[in-house]
């Protein structure tokens, strides 16, 4: 299947009429690092003027939604907290609404403040995380470890304060097969100013290796994230489009959820400013198996609808 390349005003008008709910990946679509994508703000305004639902879907789990909203504010992009879906939030909603974790049970967190804040907002008890007792490079001994029998979930996300004590404790819980193993997302790396850094998928890798278990991943491309959005918003998948710059997360996420998909080619490596996805990735002999329904150069192209 070849994606439909959009270029004329009529193409974009047809798209606008066809979809009521627009889900956006943020980094690489609306901005790259701290640089806005040209026209992105205008296009979001146009969608809102046409009474479209606008949702932001990110795998970033280091920030809770109110903190993540500050990024929008800083760049002058209108966004409301209830329009933002991060994988920490989705994990918390999954634990409270899908798992229905009893109130006397707890989550052991390998992760940062964002995960803790989202768990707290859903009324879920947790230990670990940023607890000073777990912020240590001292050697870990099982003789000084007391297992908390209330822990029935291990949730791991990106944690830049990862250390052996956290990993060893989480591993003790994971040796009990009745303890659920969740990861906010499985991205092996993430782009930062200056290059790639190890992502949530790398931080959780020691737990997978030691326990021999495969976690349930919440973020894109998993459908768990979409289940979480469904729990909070009414939308018709047939009239919903996912806009993203990455085939194996954003576009696959849309396809897994039965949504239409729009690939934009604005995603850049922060380090080299090289494009994340090229036309050759979706057309020709070396094309990916993940092909979007539509493709356009930039979300800014929809400005012609103003």
């Amino acid at each position: 299947m070849t994606p439909t390349r959009l270029s004329t005003k009529e193409d974009y008008k047809t798209l606008l009429d066809k979809y009521d709910t627009w889900m956006f990946d943020c980094d690489g679509v609306l901005w790259n690092g701290d640089r806005l994508v040209d026209g992105a703000v205008k296009v979001l305004e146009i969608l809102r003027t046409h009474k479209k639902s606008v949702l932001f879907v990110t795998n970033n789990a280091t920030k809770a939604r109110p903190s993540y909203k500050k990024k929008f504010d800083k760049l002058g992009v209108e966004a409301h907290v209830d329009e933002i879906f991060g994988s920490a939030y989705a994990a918390a909603v999954y634990i409270s609404s899908v798992m229905k974790l009893p109130k006397d049970k707890k989550v052991y967190v390998v992760g940062m403040e964002g995960v803790e804040q989202e768990l707290a907002a859903e009324g879920i008890s947790y230990i670990g995380g940023t607890d000073p007792a777990d912020q240590t490079l001292n050697s870990f001994s099982l003789s000084s470890f007391t297992r908390d029998p209330a822990v029935s979930v291990v949730l791991c996300g990106l944690d830049t304060a990862i250390n052996y004590t956290k990993l060893a404790k989480a591993f003790q819980y994971l040796q009990d097969p009745s303890v659920t193993f969740l990861v906010t997302n499985d991205d092996s790396t993430y782009p930062s100013e200056g290059g790639l850094l190890p992502g949530a998928g790398a931080v959780s890798a020691p737990l997978k290796t030691a326990s021999g278990r495969e976690p349930l991943s919440i973020g894109k491309p998993a459908s768990t994230m979409l289940d979480c959005i469904k729990a909070k918003h009414d939308f018709d998948p047939k009239r919903t489009i996912m806009v993203g710059d990455r085939l194996n997360t954003d576009i696959l996420f849309g396809q897994n959820g039965g949504l239409s998909t729009l690939l934009v080619l604005t995603g850049e490596s922060i380090q080299t400013r090289a494009r994340i996805t090229h036309v050759e990735d979706i057309e020709g002999p070396n094309a990916s198996s993940i092909i979007p329904e539509y493709v356009t150069n930039s979300i800014g192209d929809l400005r012609v609808l103003a």
Copy 2:
């Protein structure tokens, strides 16, 4: 193939005559934690009396050989530093003798003092490891990172002070495909008093995940360890026997190297004192695909030769 079960004095006498070099795994064979296996000291004495070469082959990479020897001393087991082969030492020998790393090149170490000491003993320059600059839980920024152009090897072993800064730095080097990626060993866990803890294979997992690279593993069951022993000792594989308690490390190591193999059933989980390997693992319908040449209950069984 069914292993030969040894039980009579004649069985053990035949074995003694057949092999000149005896390689021993330590934990589970000579001792369990701090408890000597009954008769092990006596059997080593008998082997030495018969002018056999005795070598100790361990994946433990946290200690250099002189430190590891202290364990033998403490338990009253005769051993000489040049008889001990740990995976940190084998990694250092591999880098100096097989890779022949030029003197102006360096190793970036994710690991502990044992790795550093073995590298230093082989005259190999290194950075990272226990450097206080890398012992931090502070957030890591690429803007404050200066790549050392001399680094051409990343060596990762068990590191109980593992943290994001170390992982992020190692990952920067590993993105250059000309940098060699080594791990001392790939054990996913290791037994400690009170239970299992994440092993070297778990500690290196974030680097594998982030880089998408498979490291060369030095320790058992890899043949690199045997290459290292060969570089230091003359032995005829046909007259050499590897004695161990684990099929997928010790016995496979022996088989990979064309050695004869003797399985002992003394390996215990420190936590539960449950046996590591059972007769059912090598005989009957659920047997492993890794079958030793010989099996005996305990190395102590060879005492009858006194």
